[in-house]
């Protein structure tokens, strides 16, 4: 039967999102989206030895916005920053067994929020925060 609506994995992450919340005094913070468009995501990271030791998110948005936020935190947690910054929007969608086509652009911003958080961390340390080569990974 044709797949309609969200995959089971999207619904599972919507229902039991991982790494929900905030981090006090985060090493990096990223925020993307806009409530006017219906999606707003924040990612907080704690970094140790150039690895993402802890990561949390807060999201206002639809089911896929929440599920992609949850998934990106799961993918990034424990990864080296150089690896984490390579996580693309399509990686997130693929790990969720796909998103409905109309959701690919508007509600798949979680990877961007992660990249913003990493760049914020690097900026704070005086490192050069390279422009993210994978921004249009969709």
């Amino acid at each position: 039967m044709a797949e309609v609506g969200y995959s089971k994995k999207v619904l599972e992450h919507f229902t039991n999102p991982r790494n929900v919340g905030t981090i006090e005094n985060p090493d990096g913070y990223g925020k993307v989206g806009n409530p006017v468009c219906g999606d707003l995501m924040e990612i907080f990271i704690k970094v140790k030895d150039d690895k993402i030791e802890d990561i949390k998110f807060r999201t206002f948005g639809c089911g896929s916005a929440i599920a992609t936020s949850s998934m990106v935190t799961e993918l990034a947690k424990g990864k080296a920053l150089d690896e984490a910054i390579k996580i693309t929007r399509s990686d997130v969608a693929d790990e969720l067994d796909g998103l409905p086509p109309k959701k690919m652009h508007c509600s798949n911003l979680a990877a961007d929020a992660l990249h913003e958080a990493i760049k914020d961390y690097r900026r704070k340390r005086g490192e050069k925060a390279d422009d993210d080569p994978q921004k249009s990974g969709d």
């Binding site: 969200y6 619904l11 409530p35 219906g38 807060r58 999201t59 916005a65």
Partner: protein, 392 residues
């Protein structure tokens, strides 16, 4: 496949999207699926089919107090009836002018029909509504003029529940010599509508909204008003809607109209009590706002918006809790635009995203109110728990 219900304790609160067909209606009309006859044929089966369609026409006419059943034209849907009303009356009556007008909260099939007319030189104006969704009569008078052919105003709104004072509006429109089209898809069978007393020229009806089968609608056309058909063919429905009749759906719509008329008063009172119980409980939640009119609203309709959270997430979370609701959020729509109705009542985009609509039907009862209210509270608390936005 997950069937609707998922369990016997599933609560369905999305009757505005689709209604179950009344088992009495199915029983009444099922024979027409088993042994149909084309109403255009003179053999016995055909005559039985013709009789079924004409009986249905009488029952539909009776629901809206149309004097002559022949004023009821059956169509395949509400969308089609609205298209026939707007495009049909405008293109046939261009001698009256080349302007059309509609309230800003009309069904998309009315608005898009009027936009289509712009391509053939019509001027289309939108009549604003106030924050409760009521049509502003003074604004209406400012928008329409003597060369407006038709003005369309919805009786009861499917998204915010607001009921317009249709008799007063019809008078205001008629004083200017303009036809009025009323979309009564959501209101018919729930609150009284009388095409004679209310003086209505064109009126759209929905079969499914009456607990009838999908695939049928109707347009009442006041005797003397001429329309251009939009579907051409063998000349069924007085030439206004060609195509072989959907016997099951039409007979079902007729029987559903009869039942709706008979049970309207008691059923509406029952639904109102559930509606008011839901509104009272849900409005106690922080950052909950009622959308639509607080009192002038459809008896089965309770609609809200919540600050800081998004409607599709509300719908998914409520579904996880075994309750089906609807939303006017952009994320849940095909176009990814928030509902034009919510924008028309003055909500900002970010406010319109947080909408939730509950529409009641025969399967609901007052005993469900506490469970529904608890589920809404749980949903709002959970989603706000990880939203970066405040409750307002």
């Amino acid at each position: 496949m997950v069937l609707m219900g998922g369990g016997s304790d599933y609560i369905y609160l999305d009757h505005a999207s689709m209604m179950p067909v009344d088992p009495r209606v199915i029983e009444f009309a099922r024979e027409l699926l088993r042994s149909p006859g084309n109403p255009a044929s003179l053999h016995s089966a055909g005559l039985a089919g013709k009789q079924a369609v004409e009986d249905a026409r009488e029952k539909v006419a009776d629901l809206i107090n149309a004097k002559d059943p022949r004023s009821v034209i059956f169509t395949g849907s509400v969308t089609e009836a609205n298209n026939l009303a707007i495009r049909g009356v405008s293109t046939r009556n261009m001698n009256r002018g080349k302007k059309v007008a509609a309230s800003a909260i009309e069904h998309i099939s009315v608005l898009n029909s009027m936009k289509e007319l712009q391509k053939s030189g019509f001027e289309f104006s939108m009549i604003p509504v106030d924050s409760a969704g009521l049509v502003d009569v003074e604004a209406l008078k400012g928008v329409v003029s003597k060369d407006t052919v038709v003005t369309s105003i919805m009786h009861g709104n499917n998204e915010i529940g607001t009921v317009e004072p249709i008799k007063d509006l019809a008078k205001a429109v008629h004083d200017l010599g303009i036809y009025i089209h009323v979309d009564a898809a959501a209101s018919a069978g729930r609150i009284p509508i009388d095409v004679q007393a209310d003086d209505i020229d064109l009126l759209t009806l929905s079969s499914n909204d009456l607990n009838g089968p999908q695939g049928a609608g109707a347009l009442y056309v006041k005797p003397g008003i001429r329309l251009q058909p939009i579907i051409l063919g063998g000349g069924q429905e007085k030439g206004l809607r060609s195509g072989t009749e959907n016997l099951f759906a039409l007979a079902g719509m007729g029987e559903a109209s009869r039942i709706a008329k008979e049970e309207m008063s008691a059923e509406s009172d029952r639904l109102k009590r559930i509606r008011d119980g839901l509104i009272e409980e849900i409005m106690s939640i922080e950052g909950a706002h009622l959308t639509g009119h607080p009192t002038e609203r459809l008896p089965h309709h309770a609609s809200f918006r919540f600050g800081g959270i998004e409607g599709e997430s509300i719908q998914l979370n409520m579904n996880n809790l075994g309750i089906a609701v609807s939303t006017g959020s952009a994320c849940s729509s095909i176009t990814l635009e928030p509902s034009h109705v919510l924008l028309a009542i003055g909500l900002k985009h970010e406010e319109a995203h947080g909408s939730m609509v509950m529409t009641l039907g025969r399967s609901n009862d007052i005993g469900q109110v506490p469970r529904i209210a608890d589920a809404v509270k749980e949903t709002v608390t959970r989603l706000r728990g990880f939203s970066p936005l405040g409750a307002e």
